[in-house]
Amino acid sequence: MKNNFLKYTVILSIALFSKQVVLAQDDLLSIVEKNEPKKKEYVNNAFKSSRVINGHSMEFIGKGVLDTRILHRFGLINTGAKNLYGLDQANMRLGFDYGISKDLTIGIGRSNVGKELDGFIKYRLIQQSKGGESSSPVSVIFITGMTYSGLPFAEPGNPGNFYSNKMGFYNQVIIGRKFSDKFSFQLTPTHVHLNLVPRNIDANDIFAIGTGARLKLSNRIAFVVDYHYILKDLSRDLVTFSEGETEAKTQVEKYVNPLAIGFDIETGGHVFQLHFSNSTGMNEKSFITNTTNKWGKGEIRFGFNLSRVFTVVKKK
């Protein structure tokens, strides 16, 4: 009886002792960490590029970074081999974005479509974060932009020819979330204002909702979709004169929602966004209010965005 008790005590003490040793072996870090508050961590890299395809993405280029962006939208693929499936025609935009701070980017660009100059300011109000107190499940970004068409006035000498007539504006709020390492999604309510519209029944203010999604296929390749739903149908009658005809013909010009799908391919300092879309415009005003080609009819164009970033101001 006494012997048994002795045995148990020895075993118990050994067990207790060894448990303590084991604890001591593994838990050095936890001794330090338990006093530390959990830190808030910002979520980055929701998209590879600062654009989904056409529209802005929730991503920023970073402070002191200059992003040179060369955009191409080729002709319609269904024009066939004589046009090299659209590659014979190229519409392009050359642009520069600069990151003033981690949350503020400004950019300018010039497209040959409508000889349009555009500029924007993009500011992140809230960045998605996790851990810690007051973390946010989404990022909220505000963008405001302006466009100016360099085309000559349609009726030279008209006293109503103000330069402001050639201007357009857009405002956007991006609400986006990186759901996982692979998947990100954003919604972009957008307002476009046109100073001058072709007819007085056309709307000056156009509202649209953009959606953008990314699915990472590998570390360097991602599948992206960019779609803008225009809340009000912009379709209108268009009066045209065909050659050899004396009478004007009226036809309905249908405006459609821009849809682009493509792949982001990243190689070192470059991001290539290769895609197919139905729009030619390369700024918000242009692709939202001026897309007429239909996916359903095969009126698709190939295009790419090439982004090359340069670190102008080095981080300390």
């Binding site: 020895v10 001794i31 890299n45 360097r220």
Partner: protein, 184 residues
């Protein structure tokens, strides 16, 4: 009688085991690495390295959050987290091992002592034994620990794509410097 004796031994042994530890720690250690080949500066610094060691047993641990590495270029930092380190999947780098010759260090006498460190580096989902040398500089209750060693990226399944082969070194030099203070 015996019951009391053994119980007291048991309690004693627990408390001794506890009291035997003399822990030094930091949460603001610096870890830098250099993976450049001379073409481009590819280096980064992490200033929130957590580390603890026991001056009695020599046991030593490190924890480094991969996202805490700061590069001079935002793009490099993004690539580091997205493509190479995969920081979402493998958020931290751990080291767990021992200062094998801790007995040679006299913590009550100020001075610099060379030490040997051996243990497991757990990085990018791969655990690998490493061995290196370093030094402990004692000044009162403060200890400055420094070490420098080299790891091969291939050992940790970090793949270097062809386009950056000339810029990115196959082996990375890592420098660690920690200002430890005694936990009382």
């Amino acid at each position: 009688m015996k019951k009391i004796l053994f119980l007291s031994i048991a309690i004693l042994s627990i408390t001794t085991a506890f009291a035997q530890k003399k822990l030094y720690s930091t949460t603001t250690g610096t870890t830098t690495f250099d993976a450049g080949t001379g073409v481009e500066n590819i280096s980064a610094t992490n200033k929130s390295t957590t580390s603890v060691f026991d001056a009695v047993s020599g046991q030593m641990q490190f924890k480094i959050m991969n996202k805490g590495f700061e590069f001079w270029s935002q793009l490099m930092q993004d690539h580091f987290n997205e493509n190479y380190m995969e920081s979402e999947k493998y958020p931290k780098t751990m080291f767990s091992g021992n200062i094998t010759d801790i007995k040679k260090v006299n913590f009550s006498k100020d001075g610099t002592y060379p030490v040997k460190v051996k243990g497991t580096l757990d990085m990018h989902g791969v655990k690998k034994e490493i061995e290196t040398t370093g030094s402990l500089k004692i000044k009162g209750d403060q200890v400055v620990g420094t070490s420098s060693f080299i790891v091969a990226l291939a050992d940790y399944n970090i793949v270097i794509p062809g386009v950056v082969k000339d810029k990115l070194a196959k082996t990375v030099k890592i420098d660690v410097s920690c200002n430890y203070s005694l936990i009382k």
